[in-house]
């Protein structure tokens, strides 16, 4: 096991990490291994799960009735973050330079970093929405479909599409506000 970070933890926390490691390491490696091709990141992802669990409550978390379910719920959010980082990184790095759009911008490293964080955050906000609401918002806003076309594509009513759109816009407004 990768123990390089363990020295930062108290004796009690280290004991918790050890127990989690013994119990879940193998199945978490399998879980991540099936879902990503980045084999070099597997160990880090497993560590990330344990560290998140530790941060949330440490030893008391281990007394949970449904510990396994909780561990894999955490693993699922680690996986989502992993995809998000990887994909954002790729999209940002592969964006061709467009003189018309980018020519006048400030390209200091700091500026690029802020943009990347902003892109990540903006995209991630959509992941917080229920699946159907997100799908509707993406079709309407990102893919540019009309309400009636979204309704036809998903086999739901126009009223229902409108309701989901209001929820999505409300969510994005609220999350944007939280960053001010």
């Amino acid at each position: 096991m990768n123990r390089r970070r363990q020295s930062e933890y108290s004796e009690q926390d280290s004991a918790v990490l050890d127990r989690l490691d013994r119990k879940f390491r193998r199945s978490l490696l399998t879980y991540f291994g099936r879902r990503t091709s980045d084999l070099s990141d597997l160990e880090d992802m497993v560590q990330d799960v344990f560290v998140r669990l530790l941060k949330r409550g440490g030893a008391s978390e281990l007394e949970r009735q449904n510990l396994s379910a909780y561990v894999f719920e955490t693993a699922s959010s680690v996986l989502t973050d992993h995809f998000r980082k990887k994909i954002t990184h790729r999209a940002v790095n592969h964006e061709p330079f467009d003189q018309n759009r980018h020519g006048g911008e400030d390209f200091s490293p700091e500026h690029v970093l802020i943009n990347r964080e902003h892109l990540e955050r903006t995209s991630a906000m959509l992941l917080e929405l229920p699946e159907l609401t997100r799908a509707i918002f993406v079709l309407r806003r990102v893919e540019g479909l009309k309400v009636k076309d979204v309704a036809a594509r998903l086999g739901i009513s126009v009223t229902s599409v409108e309701r989901h759109m209001r929820v999505a816009v409300w969510h994005v407004m609220q999350r944007n506000g939280a960053d001010q």
Binding site: T30, R34, L67, L119, S123, V138
Partner: protein
């Protein structure tokens, strides 16, 4: 324009009303009655005008074409991940 305080513009009912109006207007020009109601709502409070501008700003956030690339890839990645069933929870007794 006076900038409403944080708590003013965060009132849930106000945010909701702004989102409702914004989405309503997305679907096409308002009829005369709705337009009057929208104008009246904005005239009610500077906070309404402010929050409505926030709805427009939130919408514009998704103008960046890179968002489409990221969102499509995220959706594909999630769909791929969901093909695998969740592991069977193990027995926690030996912890």
């Amino acid at each position: 324009m006076m900038e409403p305080t944080d708590s003013t513009w965060r009132e849930p009912a106000r945010l909701e009303a702004a989102a409702d109006w914004f989405c309503h207007r997305l679907d096409g020009p308002l009829g005369a009655g709705d337009q009057a109601a929208f104008d009246a709502w904005k005239a009610e409070s500077p906070a309404n005008v402010y929050v409505y501008a926030r709805a427009e700003a939130a919408w514009r956030t998704y103008d960046d074409p890179r968002i489409a690339v990221i969102v499509r890839a995220m959706t594909a990645a999630q769909a791929e991940a969901s093909h695998f069933t969740a592991p069977t929870p193990g027995n926690d007794d030996d912890l």
